[in-house]
Amino acid sequence: MKILLMGNPNVGKSVVFSRLTGVHVIASNYPGTTVSYSRGSMKLGDKMAEVIDVPGTYTLEPTTKAEEIAAQMLNTGDIVINVIDATKLERNLYLTLQLFERNIPVVVALNIWDDTEHRGIHIDLDKLRGILGVPVIPTVATTGQGIKDLVECIPKATSPDIPPHSRDERWATIGNIIDQVQYITHRHHTWLERTEDASAKPLGGAILAIGVLASSFLAVRFIGEGLIGYVLDPLFNNLWAPVILRLSSLLGGTGFLHDIVIGKIVGGEVNFIESFGLLTTGLYVPFAIVLPYIIPFYLVLGLLEDVGYLPRLAVLMDTIMHRLGLHGYAIIPTLLGLGCNVPAILATRILESKRERFIAATLISIAIPCAALQAMIFGLVGARGWQYVAIVYGTLFVVWFILGIILNHTVKGFSPELLVEIPSYRLPSWRTVLQKLWMRVYGFLRGAVPIILGAVLAISILYVLGIFGAVANFTAPVVTGLLGLPKESVTAIAVGFLRKDVALGMLAPLALSTKQLIVGSVVLAMSFPCIATFVVLLRELGVINMLKSAGIMITAALLVGGILNLAL
């Protein structure tokens, strides 16, 4: 049996899904968090049932790619759990009526039930059940209240099987239902609601945005540097380095195996960035450089997501984003891209048109460095001075903006206007924030660490075989002539296809000047996305548009690298 969780965006379907199946999925407080479906299973009586978390949709007449997926999923299910935001009953019932017109059993979960009382909303449950003719269960998915009742009611799901109606007829029916089951009493505004109103004012909103973004950046940097300086560097230098030195002498201090496992040891000291062995650089890069920034980045992002701030930022950024052929909501995939480009490009599905998705995905893969690469930039370029980090970021920002303007004028089609629901501010619980953080950190550890180790291994072997030398000579005119980098750095650019963090690490032993390091960082950030991003680009854009995107990417990377080489 297949159970579909369907409902308007941002009503808590993903939280209900986690409660039912025990499978944890990313849930946030903004419409469009779920852009593809997740599967899980639950026990129903003595049988197992498949549960699917469907992207949110307001109607079964889809307007975005994510809503299209939702409408298609409906044909494959056996039962629908229609999750409704009890504080927005009227609007949510529209989808419910559309579901009733399909021949599929429905059970209604009246979620966010705890919020109705203080908003002065009173709903007569028995009357609502009587009118709808299907089970209606009040739930608070975030605390788990009502979930047990919901599970017990799944077998009682029924299909009212009413004939199709027009839009106006449905709204008339809903008007009738609301008159009978809901009344609203006056109540005072809470401080969260007053903050909501302030965020929608021009000046208050802008000040708040600058404050939020600046403190987010400072928090990430502060926590990241703290973790490196007080925890991970001491751990590696004081505990791990002696072990490595022992192992090195055991392996005889040189030779093929030694070079692969430990790398180059110069002067009896372990240089974790430059030695390029599996147990040295292979562990140091993911755990002591990247992880310390991944943790605070996703902590801050998770808080912003769950509070419900991101759609408000989208509203403020709308005018600027229109210059780039996008609308404000594209800022959400862009911010996700600062963590990892893969979920970011998936998240472009919340945009309405193909043209917007092409522009957004191209801009993200070219000008938005992922957290792993940023951590390396902080580490390597930051060691030369923070003003140089600023040059790298400034360049990428200008590229993002100018390339966006160019794409806006050259890509055919039009970009629709912003139309988005702004969620209520919510105080997230630490439990959910930390759980989401752990999911993302675990995703990094499981997905990235093996690839980093593989990349380091491949590099050591290719060095030993002397293949890099031949390639370096072949590409020297571009790399040295145009970009002003030593010819060996082509190997780093090539490795960038596997992992950007390892690639930037490869520049470390080349004794680059600060200018070369800046050029190298920018070119690495802009040139080919890592293979994981590449696969997602291919899947989301199709072969032809992916090739276009890649062409723009290579041209832009070489052009900007060349300009930087001349200008700095």
Binding site: Y58, T59, E61, T63, T87, K88, E90, R91, Y94, R119, I121, R167, W171, E196, D197, A200, K201, P202, G205, A206, P311, A314, V315, L316, D318, T319, H327, G328, P416, E417, L418, L419, V420, E421, I422, P423, S424
Partner: protein, 80 residues
Amino acid sequence: MPNGKQITLRQMRAGQSGIVFQIQGGHGLISRLSALGIRPGQRITKVGSTFMRGPVTIRVGNAQVALGFGMANKIIVELV
């Protein structure tokens, strides 16, 4: 009760409320707005706007919705 004065959503001031009278757009716009609860006969309150012809935020029922400047210009409201 509506006092009969009709203006566009764009012209409304923050804090003003009104009843949606008409949406001067095509089928696509009408159905997208309607899905978000913005349709003739509904009471809406303008919450705020943004600089430089940016989006307008309104409250409809218990929900806040942000919509582009152009759309706000196509929604005719009777002030209450």
